[in-house]
């Protein structure tokens, strides 16, 4: 099994998101006006876009959602940790950018004559030294990531995995050895005069590419350290140390090592020697480049993921500031097809309205099977809160499945495989110059959804099929809703198609809700009285 890619958002790499999925996700976000709500919550465009990008593909695995919630909880506990991590990851990206620009500067400015092998070696050395320098630079930040997570006690879950990866790449014995190698290269290679080049001959007398194992160089002059004044204590310590040494038994003389057979390679000239050394340096460079790139890529990929949590944190902080009660829902398996939320408020209204007290919460409940409802029809007068109700449910399910809390008293939700929305298009939004009429375009949109819909999906429809004769629209919709229910999907349908009520008759598979007509209970939604 391949190792899991380092991520604090996904259990498994979600791969490339296809254009269809991306477009469908965007449509849901726009229909539910989540983008608008987050324009207020998260003014930073880059962070908001990264957040909305994650919303395109909500999680469908409960374990994955729980892990996200765990990360978000850590961020809520110590918000400064998130900022620190973002800063460190940005620094790693900065190292990468500087590394790239330095390398391109190096390649563009140097003039190497390929015939002059000594200049080829010189250029190869320069490249390797540059890489070694940036390995050390990146290592500092990776090290700090590990320290930061340690300091804030993030040792479990996905953050724990980041900590482990950072440890492995900056503090493990292997990392230290690579760091020491990089340091040695940076300090010594520019003045190297002797190169140890290793390779292997296979049975067929073919050799691996040469690899630089070691090199020797002339140490630059170092000023001898001044002898410190001896104090009484230090002279006492020195004496004790001398005595201790003299007390140790002398080591037995070791047998002299048998010299390894060495032979001079005949028939080679200085060009050949320079070229061999250059090849070895270039090959080692390839390995260290691979290492540095892998380290940078591992952590730079976290940037957008951290932005998601940054926006999520701002969302929670917004609720905290406005004293809105919120909770993480309890998740159930997709097959239960359950939504049970008490006192759910609309996120957009909560973020935009002057007072959160003016936002009227509503309950939502349905579950399919066992004679219970699999969908909800919402009817009522204009401007009585039908669309807000639909939006609040959609937003709650989507955000919950992305690992965010939702503004309600309590919530139990089955994870949905997919979420679809169709909101009646305004005249201007229709495809220009299309030969099809409005109704046909609606039908086409519904047909696309029906093609893509999977069991345990959630469909949110707002005033669909009202672009034709109402009776015909209702008739058409009735069969579609029955189909949706039959394949095990839940739906909420806001409509003025009252004939649907007749068509359903006493059928209890659909709950018909109605917005309140009374000014005292405005925007409250309840069961339709017979």
């Amino acid at each position: 099994m391949p190792e899991r890619k380092l991520s604090i958002l996904w259990e498994n790499d979600r791969g490339v998101v296809t254009r269809d999925v991306r477009d469908a996700g965007k449509k849901v976000i726009i229909d539910l006006q989540i983008d608008r709500a987050f324009r207020t919550i998260c003014p930073d465009t880059v962070i908001r876009e990264a957040f909305l990008n994650v919303l395109l593909t909500p999680c469908s695995e409960i374990s994955e959602i729980r892990k996200r919630i765990a990360v978000l909880n850590e961020c809520m506990r110590v918000p400064q940790m998130l900022d620190k991590l973002i800063e460190l990851v940005r620094r790693i990206i900065m190292v990468k950018n500087t590394w790239d620009s330095e390398r391109s500067r190096m390649y563009s400015t140097r003039r190497v004559n390929p015939q002059d092998k000594s200049s080829v070696l010189w250029a190869a050395r320069e490249g390797l030294v540059l890489n070694a320098h940036f390995i050390r630079a990146a290592n500092v930040h990776v090290h700090t990531i590990c320290e930061t997570l340690n300091m804030f006690g993030c040792i479990d879950g996905w953050l724990g995995e980041v900590r482990e990866a950072a440890y492995a790449l900056s503090q493990s014995s292997q990392a230290k050895e690579i760091g020491a190698l990089a340091e040695r290269i940076e300090k010594g290679l520019p003045s190297a005069h002797t190169y140890d080049v290793e390779f292997r001959f296979d049975a067929e007398m073919r050799s691996d590419p040469y690899f630089l194992r070691d090199f020797r160089y002339i140490n630059s002059y170092e000023r001898p350290q001044k002898k410190q004044k001896t104090t009484l204590f230090s002279s006492l310590f020195e004496r004790a140390e001398r005595e201790k040494k003299s007390a140790q038994p002398e080591k037995t003389a070791e047998l002299p090592e048998i010299p390894k057979p060495t032979t001079r390679v005949e028939g080679v000239d200085s060009d050949w020697a320079f070229e061999t050394a250059a090849k070895a340096v270039q090959e080692t460079d390839r390995y260290l480049t691979g290492f540095l790139r892998a380290v940078i890529e591992k952590f730079s990929a976290l940037e957008n993921e951290l932005y998601f949590y940054k926006a999520a944190l701002q969302y929670v902080q917004r609720f905290d500031e406005r004293n809105v009660k919120y909770t993480f829902p309890e998740f159930r398996d997709a097959s239960e097809n359950l939504i049970d939320i008490k006192n759910l408020s609309d996120v957009l209204l909560l973020t935009e309205s002057m007072s959160v007290l003016s936002v009227i919460p509503n309950d939502v409940y349905f579950r399919s099977g066992n004679g219970e409802t699999s969908g909800i029809l919402v009817t009522g007068k204009n401007n009585s809160g039908k669309t807000v109700y639909l939006r609040s449910v959609g937003t709650a399910v989507l955000l919950a499945q992305c690992g965010l809390p939702i503004p309600c008293a309590s919530a139990v939700i089955s994870v949905r495989r997919r979420i679809f929305t169709t909101f009646a298009a305004a005249e201007g939004e229709l495809i220009p110059l299309s030969s099809a009429g409005r109704f046909e375009e609606e039908v086409a949109a519904i047909s696309q959804i029906i093609d893509a819909v999977e069991p345990s999906s959630l469909l949110l429809m707002n005033e669909t099929f009202q672009t034709t004769a109402y009776d015909e629209g209702a008739e058409g919709m009735f069969h579609i809703l029955n189909y949706i229910a039959a394949i095990g999907c839940g739906f909420i349908f806001v409509t003025h198609l009252l004939k649907l009520k007749e068509l359903y008759g006493d059928n209890s598979s659909v709950e018909i809700l109605k917005t309140s007509d009374s000014p005292q209970t405005r925007y409250k939604i309840g069961k339709l009285e017979a």
């Binding site: 190792e3 990866a165 492995a168 790449l169 493990s172 292997q174 990392a175 050895e177 690579i178 005069h193 002797t194 190169y195 140890d196 080049v197 290793e198 390779f199 292997r200 001959f201 296979d202 049975a203 067929e204 007398m205 073919r206 050799s207 691996d208 590419p209 040469y210 690899f211 630089l212 194992r213 070691d214 390894k260 057979p261 060495t262 032979t263 001079r264 390679v265 005949e266 028939g267 080679v268 000239d269 200085s270 050949w272 020697a273 320079f274 061999t276 050394a277 090959e283 080692t284 390839r286 390995y287 480049t289 691979g290 290492f291 790139r293 892998a294 380290v295 591992k298």
Partner: protein, 503 residues
């Protein structure tokens, strides 16, 4: 005895002289090109003798039914290619030190290969014969000793080398643990295996590097020299020179590639049969279908099968050479191609796409199909006539020949004259074959005629069957029109339909 061949009842050495009796254009005319590798196709140009055909058929029977055998042959093919790669390096090497060292792995590969061949001894036919030859070889004391020595030498072999480069002085010494390996191990342990770059191509050694290696590992080199002198005379000279086994690559390649082709045909629903070698001059094909139709992704079941009876004498009639005529698109070319392929496959010891068959082992096949429109210095007719003339010269009663619309590049009178001459010559010589032509005056003579006629038994579809007929006067143009619903009746109906819709 030298290495026995898989394909012929000869040794590999003798096989090198096997003549390609079937011209190259035959494979192209029968549309075999592209189905198999070029090297494989060449084997179809070397027909088997009457004795060899059943042996080769035996091989294909095992290949098409026993996956284990195929697997063994594939492994042998891989081992052969390894052996030849390294033997090539050995032969190309101009440096004695390197040659001596390359001999060791070459022989190692050969000894392994011999063991692999020996595993085939249980099989019947040629495969078993080759297997038993190698099994005997493996039992010999020299062979066993060579295996033992080779294993020991390979075990002692060290591969790491370290150059110390200082100015223009380069010294070589033993390698020890490699930093590259260490880094690769580290990257894996640190969870970044993607940091390991792709391995670059290996470099060939030269005089200096080979000498340096020999100098550092002088003990090992001295041992390889001894090994070389001990075994070179046994395995690199005379009948058992292991370089001779290179011919097996081609033979096994042919068997694997051709059997792949026939497996594909079988999976596409084409019937396969192993024709009997007839002792009389005859070609009897029942339910023959054109294997080249598989190219068009047709299923075998959807292809109309045909029958063919050719005999130098059948009920006091000479049925060796046929005139084939009939509707355009009625399947004449497909039919003669199917028959041609059947004879070609049969001569190569392969299965044939028919229900059952019996064929005389011909010496050669010739075909004359319309050529591409590229005639240098001469017109189409001259080109056709020249090609036909060459074929006519080579034919005899042991050859199978197919002419497809020959002499069509001239006026009717001239065409008829030449065609008649051709048909008569073939008939009189007793050559086996067919001549597709539109010249109806050729039909109805003493030369038997086959025609593409509508298959009355198939009620659902308009299909054609090739049948023996007397004289014919039409090319069944009406049938074609009907097929595309452009005939009188269809057009009438179509008109009525449109009127009906209009009202």
């Amino acid at each position: 005895m030298s290495y026995p061949s898989f394909l012929w009842k000869k040794t590999l050495r003798e096989c090198a002289d096997t003549e390609e009796k079937i011209p190259e254009n035959v494979l192209a005319d029968l549309m075999l090109a592209g189905d198999m590798k070029n090297d494989t196709m060449n084997y179809f140009r070397k027909p088997c003798s009457a004795e060899e055909i059943p042996q080769r058929q035996g091989l294909f029977r095992i290949l098409l039914s026993d996956d284990g055998f195929r697997e063994k042959l594939k492994n042998i093919a891989e081992q052969l290619s390894e052996l030849h790669r390294i033997t090539g390096a050995f032969e190309r090497s101009e440096h004695p030190t390197e040659q001596v060292m390359l001999f060791l792995p070459s022989l190692g590969h050969y000894l392994t290969l011999a063991r692999m061949f020996a595993e085939l001894k249980e099989y019947e036919g040629r495969a078993g014969e080759v297997g038993r030859y190698f099994a005997e070889l493996c039992e010999e004391e020299t062979f066993r000793k060579a295996e033992e020595d080779c294993g020991q030498m390979m075990k002692n072999r060290r591969s790491e080398l370290l150059y110390t480069v200082r100015g223009n002085e380069v010294t070589a010494s033993e390698g020890g643990e490699m930093l590259r390996d260490k880094l690769e191990r580290f990257f894996g342990e640190m969870g970044i295996p993607e940091a390991i770059p792709n391995r670059k191509a290996l470099l060939r050694s030269n005089d200096s590097t080979a000498a340096a290696y020999a100098g550092v590992y002088y003990g090992f080199h001295a041992a390889t020299e001894q090994f070389y002198h001990k075994y070179v005379g046994i395995f690199l000279e005379g009948e058992r020179d292991f370089r001779l086994t290179s011919s097996y690559s081609g033979e096994i390649g042919f068997l694997l590639d051709a059997s792949d082709y026939f497996i594909r045909l079988r999976e596409a629903g084409f019937p396969l049969t192993y024709p009997a070698v007839s002792s009389n001059r005859e070609v009897v094909l029942n339910g023959i279908v054109d294997a080249s139709l598989a190219k068009r992704e047709l299923r075998g079941e959807d292809v109309v099968p045909n029958d063919l009876l050719m005999a130098s004498e059948y009920r006091e009639e000479k049925l060796a050479f046929y005139i084939v005529t009939g509707a355009n698109g009625g399947g004449k070319t497909t039919f003669i191609r199917a028959c041609g392929l059947a004879v070609l496959f049969f001569l190569a010891g392969c299965p044939v796409t028919a229900v059952s068959a019996r064929i005389w082992p011909f010496e050669a096949i010739y075909t004359h199909f319309p050529a591409n429109e590229s005639f240098e210095n001469s017109g189409r007719f001259v080109n056709e006539a020249n090609r036909a003339e060459e074929i006519i010269e080579k034919t005899n009663e042991n050859t199978f020949v197919l002419f497809n619309e020959t002499y069509s590049g001239t006026d009717e009178q001239k065409s008829e004259h030449y065609s008649r001459r051709l048909a008569d010559t073939m008939y009189e010589r007793g050559v086996f074959g067919m001549f597709v032509t539109h010249i109806h005056s050729l039909t109805g003579s003493r030369i038997p005629t086959l025609a593409a006629v509508i298959d009355e038994t198939d009620e659902n579809r308009r299909t054609y069957k090739i049948k023996r007929v007397g004289a014919t006067t039409s090319s069944f143009a009406e049938d074609i029109l009907e097929k595309y619903r452009l005939d009188r009746n269809s057009l009438k109906k179509r008109l009525e339909g449109e009127r009906h819709a209009g009202t």
